[in-house]
């Protein structure tokens, strides 16, 4: 029989044994958990308390030279739902109804989709099991305002299980404007070409979260800031681009051509100021794009330019000293047979000087200048004006045109190339050559990207203006050829419709009949009507090329393209505030908003009426007309603006 002390002892041993056993179990368990399975369990635990997400910055914007947005990013939302989180049938019905009201989705289909809480999942062994359905896409690309309104409605109706996935979509705020040049990813234009610059950085962010999934302020999460893509500033000016596009629309309406394009550049820098094409497309709505409007034909396509080639050939002949503006050529009364092939002039003449060959656009005269130059010199001249080469525009693909190497010229090339037949050039190549003519024979690469800006640091990388290649051996020649080109737009020239009152316009028309491959002859009624030129002739603000492909009603550059050139140029001169060279202009009366707009007489006519005393350098100037700085007070402005409220 046990005494009480023995009983206590036994109990103590028992408890000590149990506790010891427990301790050993815990120790073994701890060893197993902390040492043996450490890696496995640590990973599993970490999976539960850490979250990761991929952050992407915004893509760089594309702007014009003044900072007007051409391609930006617009916030859009993808609305998704977790059917398992939509607790009641009523909530599903309400959500389906909201989707129907706000986004026009089918109510019955939405309801069916939201109440389907399971789906079949196929396992690797081929069996199918039923799993919870936690994701369904409701609407994609919802605009910011609509998404916010929908979110508020969900809050008011207390509908759970709907999530908003925000992201940015590429957006073209100016719609058609410059669409062919801007392009889009997966296609052509500046957008895909400069994707490397505009593309943002993507970072993976790992952070610790609490039980509710909210981010913890402590923990060893890595937080990396994303980097937005760089902004690109083009050399294009939006207002001038608008002028070009508006005038091309008028050309399309009047002449119903297949295609029309216009390109403008600054001859002193090679900056493309505007480049437009019709037909075009709206990059925000690509479903309606037609195959004829996709490509940037002004850069990708080449055509036989016709007479717009003549100034380059004449400039080369003048530079080599083979001719002067007064040198006369026999133009054969309009018909000339050379190597059993005839050549005709639209305006038949017997003898024409080089100046008149340009003015009247004589094919025979120019072909004879080509013969005088010889093949080698002619090839050198045309190549030095950039034909057969890329222009420097950073848009791919760019055609180099079809320009045969010298050893492949046939006997007729020497007479056909000078008049723009037998060679294929792109409109941008023509523009580049005319920029060289306008800038005293300096051939520059064309620029489309002005600078690139880092949105975070503000650092600007300017795309360099490369030094030009000098074409002329004799720099004084530059003025001679420009003066010859001015005569083209003067009375008696082939492009009087390109003349702008008050300004000297230097240019050249081009009418090139299209080659009909099936009939193996040039078409009589299909042509490229072209006008290329620059204004003001001796101090050019811009060079401009207008090409109209297959105009209906007329085939001539002087009739179809020259008026468009005049309209574009005169509006651009006004916009750029380029003062007319030689005509007085009196201020026009201000136009009231309520009055009807009447056609305004040209400044030359208006200015003829008021007599303004001439300021002679030898005679003292009358006090009232004296040119001096007059300190004025507020009363001057009040008086002035009251009399001429619109004249500021």
């Amino acid at each position: 029989m046990l005494t009480s002390n023995d009983a206590v002892k036994t109990r103590i041993y028992l408890v000590a044994f149990v506790l010891g056993g427990l301790f050993i179990y815990v120790a073994l368990r701890l060893y197993n958990v902390q040492v043996v399975r450490h890696e496995e369990l640590y990973k599993e635990a970490k999976k539960q308390y850490t979250a990761q997400r991929t952050k992407t910055g915004k893509r760089g914007e594309i702007r014009d030279i003044d900072g007007n947005l051409l391609i930006g990013n617009v916030p859009v939302t993808r609305i998704i739902a977790d059917p398992c989180n939509i607790e009641t049938e009523l909530q599903a019905r309400r959500l389906a109804m909201l989707l129907n009201w706000d986004f026009g989705l089918n109510y019955a289909e939405c309801y069916k989709d939201l109440t389907k809480k399971t789906r079949l999942k196929k396992l690797s062994d081929g069996r199918e099991i039923e799993v919870e359905r936690r994701y369904t896409l409701l609407v994609r690309e919802v605009e910011f305002k609509e998404a916010e309104m929908f979110r508020k409605k969900l809050e008011i109706n207390d509908i759970p299980g709907v999530y908003f996935n925000h992201y940015y979509k590429r957006y073209y705020p100016k719609n058609h404007l410059l669409a062919n040049v801007l392009g889009f990813i997966g296609w052509r234009g500046i957008e895909p070409t400069s994707a490397e610059t505009t593309m943002p950085e993507t970072v993976k962010e790992i952070y610790e979260v609490d039980r509710a999934g909210l981010r913890l302020h402590y923990g060893d999460g890595r937080q990396e800031e994303v980097r937005d893509g760089e902004h690109i500033y083009l050399t294009v000016s939006e207002p001038i681009q608008s002028i070009l596009e508006e005038e091309l629309d008028k050309v399309m309406e009047k002449w119903k051509p297949k295609t029309a394009y216009a390109i403008m550049a600054d001859p002193r820098t090679g900056n493309i100021m505007a480049i437009a094409q019709r037909p075009t497309f709206n990059p925000n709505n690509r479903q309606k794009m037609d195959s004829n409007s996709w490509r940037l034909k002004a850069i990708e396509d080449s055509f036989e330019p016709g007479s717009v080639m003549k100034p380059m050939v004449v400039a080369g002949a003048l530079d080599f000293g083979l001719v002067t503006p007064q040198t006369k050529f026999d133009c054969e009364n309009g018909v000339w047979i050379y190597k059993n092939r005839s050549m005709r002039d639209t305006h038949p003449e017997k003898m024409l000087s080089v100046a008149n060959i340009i003015k009247h656009s004589s094919n025979i005269g120019t072909a004879k200048i080509g013969l005088q130059l010889g093949e080698k010199r002619l090839d050198h001249i045309l190549r030095s004006f950039g034909f057969g080469q890329n222009t420097g525009i950073p848009v791919k693909p760019e055609t180099r045109g079809q320009y045969l190497p010298l050893n492949k010229w046939d006997g007729l090339s020497i007479t056909r190339f000078p008049i723009g037949y037998g060679v294929g050039v792109s409109p941008v190549q023509i523009l580049r050559a005319y920029c060289a003519l306008a800038d005293g024979g300096n051939l520059r690469k064309l620029r489309l990207i002005d600078h690139v800006e880092d949105p975070e640091t503000g650092k600007i990388i300017v795309s360099p203006i490369e030094p030009p290649v000098r074409i002329y051996r004799n720099p004084q020649l530059a003025n001679q050829i420009v003066s010859l080109m001015v005569t083209v737009t003067e009375p008696g020239g082939t492009a009087t419709k390109a003349a702008i009152e008050g300004y000297d316009v230097a240019g050249k028309t081009g009418t090139s009949r299209k080659w009909q491959a099936a009939e193996k002859q040039y078409s009589y009624n299909k042509s490229f009507a072209t006008f290329a030129g620059f204004v003001p002739a001796h101090d050019p603000a811009f060079a401009l090329v207008v090409v109209v492909d297959e105009a209906v009603g007329s085939i001539y550059g002087g009739t179809v393209a020259a008026p468009a050139f005049r309209e574009i140029a005169s509006r651009t001169l006004k916009y750029l505030d380029i003062k007319p060279k030689h005509e007085p202009v009196a201020p026009e009366p201000a136009v009231s908003r309520t009055t009807e707009v009447k056609p305004q007489p040209h400044p030359r006519k208006v200015a003829a009426k008021p007599h303004v005393p001439k300021a002679s350098p030898t005679k003292p100037v009358p006090e009232k007309n004296a040119k001096k700085f007059i300190p004025i007070d507020d009363s001057y402005y009040r008086r002035h603006y009251r009399q001429n409220p619109g004249n500021r």
């Binding site: 617009v74 910011f144 608008s242 006004k574 060279k581 300021a615 040119k627 300190p631 004025i632």
Partner: protein, 152 residues
């Protein structure tokens, strides 16, 4: 019986023995220390819990503010693109036609150019240039410059 006696004698002995009295006080000292320590630990844990809950609340608030900032950022971008659409020339042209506004570009003769020059006398000289004719101006481009002085 013996045991009971023994107990009584022990209690009596403690009452009498100052050393035993001191030992009992010592036990209370330990208890006091334990209570204080327990209190400190409780306070620390309590503080930590309160701190954590406040931090979590602040974190939640920060996240909701962050969400609002994100919404505002997206709103700013949305409105800036809208503004760009509205100020595009095709849109302006449409509105000019819609409201029949008699607007046109000024001819270069109607334009004035204003330049502000800083001068040492503490005034800014504002000049206005108006083009007039080539005939009455030697340089052909400026005429009738108006100057106005304003304080800086």
């Amino acid at each position: 019986m013996n045991m009971m006696k023994g107990k009584k004698s022990t209690a009596a002995a403690r009452k009498r023995n100052p050393a035993a009295k001191k030992a009992i006080l010592g036990k209370f000292d330990i208890l006091f220390v334990l209570v204080v320590l327990g209190g400190i630990i409780f306070a620390a844990i309590n503080f930590r819990l309160t701190f954590d809950s406040k931090t979590s609340a602040l974190s939640r608030e920060a996240q909701s503010i962050q969400r609002e900032i994100n919404v505002l950022e997206r709103e700013i971008i949305y409105f800036s693109t809208q503004r760009e659409s509205l100020k595009s020339w095709p849109h302006i042209r449409k509105k000019i036609a819609q409201f029949n506004l008699p607007l046109r570009l000024p001819s270069p003769a109607q334009t004035y150019r204003m330049t502000v020059h800083y001068e040492n006398n503490g005034l800014n000289r504002i000049e206005m240039f108006a083009y007039q004719t080539a005939d009455n101006s030697s340089n052909g481009s400026q005429f009738g410059s108006k100057t106005r002085y304003v304080n800086q």
